[in-house]
Structure formats: structure tokens, C-alpha cells
Assembly symmetry: C2
Homo-oligomer: 240 residues x 2
């Protein structure tokens, strides 16, 4: 295998061939991250750096450094002298995650609603477009499409707040809960309520009423949390 060229060796299959132009560490990070996101690396799985390195056609060093970053992101845990453990999410983790999201999106909505009128209107329009996409997906029974549009709405809300730190935090949190969201998408019953709440958030932003936007965004996530957490418990889902 010696001397793996950056772009060579297409025979290495497995998890997520990423053809980024960056360093090998970035490649390893992206590959492992997406492998975890789509559950190619199942939670609870304990991988060895050697094995992953082999699979990605590089040496142990970049894999090790990528693992450090993933650990900082809360996706894995590197156990000294034991290997890389893919973290599972317990219901209590979902509670933590929701609280962070409630706080961040609430503030984000408030900030966006306090923008100058032109920016506000543009933001509201973008948000409404995503909500339209959700409604359309719902109408044709396209659950994955609904989930995608929903994610786009929330991503846009955060992005409009123009706060890099908030974006990074929410992104990390979303990475952690991605698998759980995919799983629970099928359990959700109140798609209509979500759409209505999205409209309310966009409307408050359009009107420039910051406190209404804050409240609407908060209540939206709080309701989702109150709907989801009991479901997880009742299904006895101990790890996601």
C-alpha cells in the first residue's frame, strides 16, 4: 500500500470517498464524520485507528488527528489504548441537545427580527420559501423531503443571524443528533403544527417584532421537544 497518493487508489471502498482538495486530515475527518452521520459506523462500534487508516488508504497519523477533532465535536470518544468509540445518544442527550437548540434558535430569531427592514424582509422570504417546500413535501407524502426542507429552514434561520459561533455550535449539535432525527422522522405526527409555527416565526421577523420572533422560535422547539422525548422513552430507545 505504501505511499498512498492523495487522489489515487480508487480500490479503497467503504466509507464516503471524499475528494476534497485539503489535507489528509481533512479527508479523514470528512469521511469519518459522514460515515458516522449515515450510520455506516454504528453507534457503539469500536474501531481501531489502524483499520480506518487502512480503509482510507492513509497512515494512522491523520486518522488519529481527525479522531481528536471528532471527539471535540462530541461524535466519538477516543479511549486511551483501546480505540475509537462511536458515541450513542441517550434520551438524556436529546434533552441536552434540545435545550441548546431552544436557546440558540430563540436568540437567532430575535436577532434576525431586529435587522434593518430590507434584510428582515429578505430573511422572511427565504424562510417562507423553505416552509413552502415543507408544505409541498407534506402534500405529496414525501417525508424525507419534508425533513430536508425543515432542516433548511432552521439552517437559514441561524445563518441569517450572522453569528459564526452560533453557526458552529448549532452545526456540531446537529451532527450529533442527525441520526436520531432520521430515526424519529417517522414517529412525528404533527407536521402541520410545525408548518404553522414556521409561518409564525417568519411573520414575526417580517414584522420586526423581536420578542414575538424569540417566543415563536422557542415555542416551536419546546413543543417539538415535548412531543419527542416521551416518544423516545415510550419506545424504550436507550441509544440512538
Amino acid at each position: 500500500m505504501a505511499r498512498a497518493r492523495p487522489n489515487g487508489d480508487p480500490e479503497v471502498q467503504g466509507a464516503a470517498e471524499s475528494e476534497k482538495r485539503g489535507s489528509l486530515v481533512d479527508d479523514a475527518y470528512a469521511a469519518m464524520r459522514s460515515a458516522i452521520r449515515d450510520a455506516s459506523f454504528a453507534p457503539g462500534y469500536q474501531a481501531s485507528e489502524q483499520e480506518i487508516a487502512l480503509r482510507l488508504g492513509m497512515s494512522r497519523t491523520p486518522v488519529h488527528e481527525a479522531a481528536i477533532r471528532l471527539q471535540e465535536d462530541g461524535l466519538v470518544r477516543v479511549l486511551p489504548r483501546k480505540g475509537i468509540l462511536i458515541l450513542a445518544l441517550a434520551p438524556d442527550d436529546m434533552r441536552e441537545i434540545y435545550d441548546v437548540v431552544i436557546a440558540m434558535e430563540g436568540r437567532a430569531a430575535e436577532l434576525v427580527a431586529a435587522l434593518p427592514e430590507a434584510a428582515r424582509l429578505a430573511a422572511a422570504q427565504t424562510l417562507d420559501a423553505h416552509t413552502d417546500a415543507m408544505a409541498a413535501a407534506h402534500a405529496r407524502g414525501d417525508l424525507p423531503g419534508w425533513g430536508l426542507a425543515d432542516a433548511a429552514f432552521h439552517a437559514a434561520l441561524i445563518a441569517q443571524a450572522r453569528n459564526g459561533r452560533m453557526s458552529r455550535i448549532v452545526q456540531a449539535i446537529n451532527d450529533q443528533s442527525h441520526r436520531a432525527r432520521m430515526l424519529t422522522l417517522n414517529l412525528r405526527r404533527t407536521l402541520d403544527a410545525s408548518i404553522a409555527e414556521h409561518r409564525r416565526i417568519a411573520e414575526a421577523i417580517r414584522a420586526g417584532t423581536a420578542d414575538a420572533a424569540l417566543d415563536a422560535a422557542r415555542q416551536h422547539r419546546i413543543r417539538a421537544r415535548n412531543e419527542l422525548l416521551p416518544l423516545l422513552d415510550s419506545y424504550g430507545l436507550k441509544h440512538l
Copy 2:
């Protein structure tokens, strides 16, 4: 230098000898982190990994891995083939940081106020104790002591919310803004207002009125932000 023993070689001085029991990477991380916090590594300073490794009596590898973690924390930037750059904070960064803190502490206060009565009362008592310490420090003109007690109050507020992710996020944010806080401590004029607002937060928690606690915590940080940001601008502090 060869074969640096973990605990040997006291002649390496400089930044923060940490006698943690962990790995060399942890040592390097802790040492660099505290060196950045107390400005032994000034912002804008560009260090080479080799040099830091020499100073800490270890090889480049653990320093490099610690640098990755610090970069993930937003404290440094590792420039490919150029070295480690200690990040400076612009006023805009302080705006971002305040928004995150406003969001997180608001939610934390709300959560603590929603705790069962016994836990609520204990939390309020802890918070009040810290506020007492602030008042005492203020009375004897002890500005650093005031800052310490203030930090303890806010740390306790977050800790009582029992959300590990929130704690980590706030901790990272505090690391970033630590230097700026030390600097601006002398500029602050409204110490009394802070103390009164702290009382109000604790009181809302004691009473179990979650929305009042949320609002009190938010307004406290919002006021501090509105007081500080113009100061930074007027002093022309471009980087902290």
C-alpha cells in the same frame, strides 16, 4: 533533550507547568490554554510547534495534537506550514460571544427555575452566596475579587442547569473572552446594577417563575453587552 521524562526537567520554565496525570497531549493542551488565557502567549503571536515543544520538553507530535484541540476551541489558528497563530478578538467577536451567552444563560436560568422546589432553593442560595461575595468585594474596592465572584455566579448558574453540552459551550466561550474580560473589568461603571440584577435572577429562581428567571438573566447580559460594546468601539480597541 532526548527522552523527556514526563515529570522531569524542571528547568523548562515558561508557560504553566501542569502536573496533570494525563497524557502529554493533555499536558500540552492545558499549558497552552492557560498560557493563552493569561496572555503569556499574546494575541497575534505566531509560535512554531517546534519551539513550543522544546519549551514544554516534549516532541512536536503532542503539541501538534493539542493545537488541533485549541483550534477547535477557537483559541488559535494553525496555519499550514506557517505555525500556530494566537487569535485576537475583535469587537465583532465580542458581539458574537455575548449573543451566545445571552442565549445560553437565559435558558439555563429558565431550567433552574423549573427545578423541584428543594433544588431550586439550594441553587438560589448558592447564587446569592456568590452575589454576597461580589458585594463584599465591591465594598472594599477589590475589583479582581469582584470579577472572580461574578464569574463564579455565572458558572454556578450554568452548572445548576445540569446540561453538559451547555457547560462545555459556555466554557469554551469564556476561554475565548477571558482576556477581554480582564481588560474591560476596569472600564465597568455599573457594578451596583450587576449585583441588583443577580439578586433578581436568584429571586426568580427561588420563586420558581421560569419566565421571570429567563428574562432577568437575559436582560442582565443584554445590559452588560450594551454597556461594553460601545466602550470597546470608543476606545478603538481593535483586538483584545
